[in-house]
Symmetry: C2
Subunit: 487 residues, 2 copies
């Protein structure tokens, strides 16, 4: 089943040929390919969701929602590239009076990088997998994609790949623009191959870091956009705790158990004031209502069990709500104190990917900002507070350590939009970019300037007449494109 080196090389070569062939097509053409893939996924929804249920233990509702999100993402990216936002087209006309001396005519826009290697995650078999955010943004950018599928849902992955290839073919895209490979050897070859120009990765910190270093040490280093690990701390202020502890605990119980805790944005740390209230009983009741399912895969389950066991056996960490080790494990909540965490900051650094979290209690007047300073880089950080409280210092420390801040909300669920940012300081991600939302497209492009070119030789995005009707910056000022085409 694993791809041989020759197969991998052939797919990369075919991807590069496809990229070369279509790297300069008009955005509307490329958008048609994206919406074609969206339609292909939609028309195979029943089959794909069924395969997903068989392989992942996720329920139908969740899988259907995730597929809808995946389809929507392709459609949104199609609209985005028609607007030309990703091209960042900028025109500086020649200016004899420019402040530092005469300026030649210079025009810049962004071109696709080439072949992109994408490593899908197991926990979102659609949204962060074969045709997930990395593949969609690389295709939107104009790149070709070779996708190393996740073995956790191999049949679904390969079938999704077939559906995508078929849809691209029907939409008129060149063969080879998208393909899949299998296995560790193929994965390493993908990172090493001279024709591969960037990597998108979602997975574990250890595996991601290894591939990051490998990509960085190539004879010709390439960008490695890796999403590794995140614990997503939630801080509850004393005032918020006084006014609505039950509501907060209910929200927490829902968020950390969502998808059996197998979300990269699962809140794995809850900082609350020390209390005489029976938090354990409250949480136990909340959790009892949540559906329980097996974890995604045996490998993931083993990793979860080991991480949980490691945390449970850490001195100063106690059990708050005991889970079990059944096939559909009851969630576990551990508890420790701010004092102990200050002695052993490592407690804050261990991700437990699955249905478990740590509650950290703190004493009245605790210095929350300095506690926040003990945290690693995170995808998200959340504060539950009251309207009149001053938590600026805490928010500031959390912003230094995360990519998305939430206020009185929960981090699970990441909408695909223009302003979304899904990324954060290392080890949350290995770059400063986002892997979700329209801004993800730019990761797979690079700018090129045209200096002193005659009008007839300029590419479409930077011609004065703006044939693609995109938004551009001209001599420093942004210009709206001509009225939308009505066709």
């Amino acid at each position: 089943m694993n791809s041989s080196r020759e197969e991998t090389d052939n797919k990369i070569a075919a991807a590069n040929a496809a990229y070369e062939h279509v790297k300069d097509v008009a955005p509307r053409t490329r958008a048609g390919w994206l919406t074609g893939v969206a339609a292909g996924l939609e028309s195979h929804a029943d089959e794909l969701v069924e395969l997903g249920q068989e392989e992942t233990h996720l329920d139908e509702g969740r899988l259907r929602f995730e597929l809808r999100r995946t389809i929507f993402q392709l459609q949104l990216f199609a609209e985005e590239i028609i607007r030309g936002e990703h091209l960042d087209a900028t025109i500086d006309h020649a200016d004899p009076d420019w402040g530092m001396g005469p300026r030649p005519d210079i025009r810049r826009y962004s071109i696709p990088l080439g072949v992109v290697g994408v490593f899908g995650a197991s926990n979102f078999p659609f949204a962060f997998s074969v045709m997930g955010g990395d593949s969609a943004s690389a295709l939107a950018a104009g790149c070709a994609v070779v996708n190393k599928v996740h073995e956790g849902h191999l049949r679904l992955a390969l079938r999704t790949g077939e559906v995508v290839e078929e849809a691209l073919d029907q939409a008129g895209a060149p063969k080879g623009l998208f393909s899949t490979i299998v296995g560790r050897e193929a994965a390493e070859r993908l990172v090493d191959h001279p024709l591969v120009k960037a990597i998108g990765f979602t997975g574990s910190t250890a595996g991601g870091r290894m591939l990051h270093d490998r990509a960085s040490l190539r004879p010709s280093p390439i960008p490695f956009y890796g999403e590794l690990g995140s614990i997503n701390p939630v801080f509850v202020t004393e005032a918020a705790w006084r006014s609505r502890s039950a509501e907060i605990l209910a929200g927490f119980a829902s968020s950390f158990t969502m998808g059996m805790g197998q979300f990269c944005t699962k809140p794995g740390l809850l900082f609350v004031p020390h209390t005489d209230m029976d938090v354990a009983a409250l949480l136990r009741t909340e959790i009892a209502e949540k559906p329980r399912r097996p974890l995604l895969s045996k490998k993931l389950r083993e990793g979860f069990d080991a991480a949980l066991e490691g945390m449970r056996s850490t001195p100063g960490v106690d059990v708050l709500v005991d889970g079990d080790d059944s096939e559909t494990p009851h969630p576990t909540l551990l508890v420790t104190t701010a004092e102990r965490v200050r002695e052993r900051p490592g407690i804050l650094e261990q991700e437990m990917f699955g249905p478990a979290a740590v509650v950290v209690t703190y004493q009245p007047g605790e210095d929350l900002p300095s506690l926040a300073r003990l945290l690693d880089g995170q995808l998200t950080a959340t504060v539950h507070g009251e309207p009149d409280e001053n938590v600026a210092a805490l928010l500031d420390e959390l912003r230094e350590r995360s990519g998305r801040l939430l206020w009185n909300a929960w981090p699970t669920g990441v909408t695909v939009s223009y302003a979304q940012h899904h990324g954060g300081p290392y080890p949350a991600t290995t770059a400063t970019t986002t892997s979700v939302g329209t801004a993800a497209i730019g990761r797979f492009m690079r700018p090129v300037a045209y200096d002193s070119f005659p009008p007839s030789r300029l590419p479409e995005p930077v011609r004065d007449e703006n044939p693609w009707r995109i938004r551009r910056r001209v001599d420093g000022m942004w210009e709206a494109p001509a009225a939308e085409e009505t066709e």
Copy 2:
């Protein structure tokens, strides 16, 4: 003279404290610091240019122009950040009807990374040195800068640092926001220090690659924006050669000898049709008129001599115009053929930093695109052609391998503007970004999203009322800021 580890650590800590203190100031305040530095450099122009003449062998006119460019850059960046372009502010209001399901209120903008380490180059003692493009863009982004000065012009560098620190102080910026360090040990510490969040580097391929790998392998990797080496090939078509060979050779002679060939954009390779014309005589005459000066430093001279000797002794490479090894060396031109280059593509990969270049002659009907495919990554690539020629395939190959394409122009001289791009595939640079022009600022920022925040807790750039009057994208549509302030 070299900074001790303790000194280096203290400067980095002070830089971080300064960054923390002012990371959220309004763009107008920060712009005032940049224009303050510009004014400080201007008021010390005579002193600095004199020091530069003593240490670099560059003439007064060149140094004055370079200082003017450096000052202009600071002023342009000040304007740019007042417009808020670097913030990339994006607002998605909550939307219950969003295509993939209800969307929360999400707002994103970019914040500074923290302390940036900058390594200045020797060849532009102002424009790519202490307060060159990397320092200016990092300060504009809101970062603090610790600058590892180049030993090639140590007194000038340290004096420039003093002028900058004094100007920042007078403009009201916090102490420590900018400082300088000296020496290799300090340089390595700068790349390793946990508080340093990015590196800007201009220098040699070997040194830059070593530091790139070091930055990538840190416990917490950081972006390394390195500009390493580039040979800047120029292709002359048969038609252009027929119609204006003398003019092209004159332009080439001026461009490759500019600054004694010590420009990162020096055209080091000229591809011309094989000819019976006495090219050597023509070039010798052109070169004879050019001013000659010693190279920038002894170390650089040794490197140049070694590179030139290596190229001269390459089989198949002959001398076209002989130079000399005087203190102010006469430029050397070597010659080879396309045929030999195809046998030994290494000829195309050796940068000779100084007054030397290689002319490559090709036979009628030569396949120029396939010749271009032998090239490494470049900052620039140039074509001299005639209006009716079809050179699309050649331009395409050159675009794949460079960051700036020129048509019937010369690559030396890099204007600072909105559309400028100074960067290219490895080894030209280690990232896809530019180190010149307003787009350089974004390298030192990262996006952060605010999810579900109440209006009163939102930072200025993403408040509905737009207090900083910056350009923003709101619900997918770009909005112009309110009318410019008239104060």
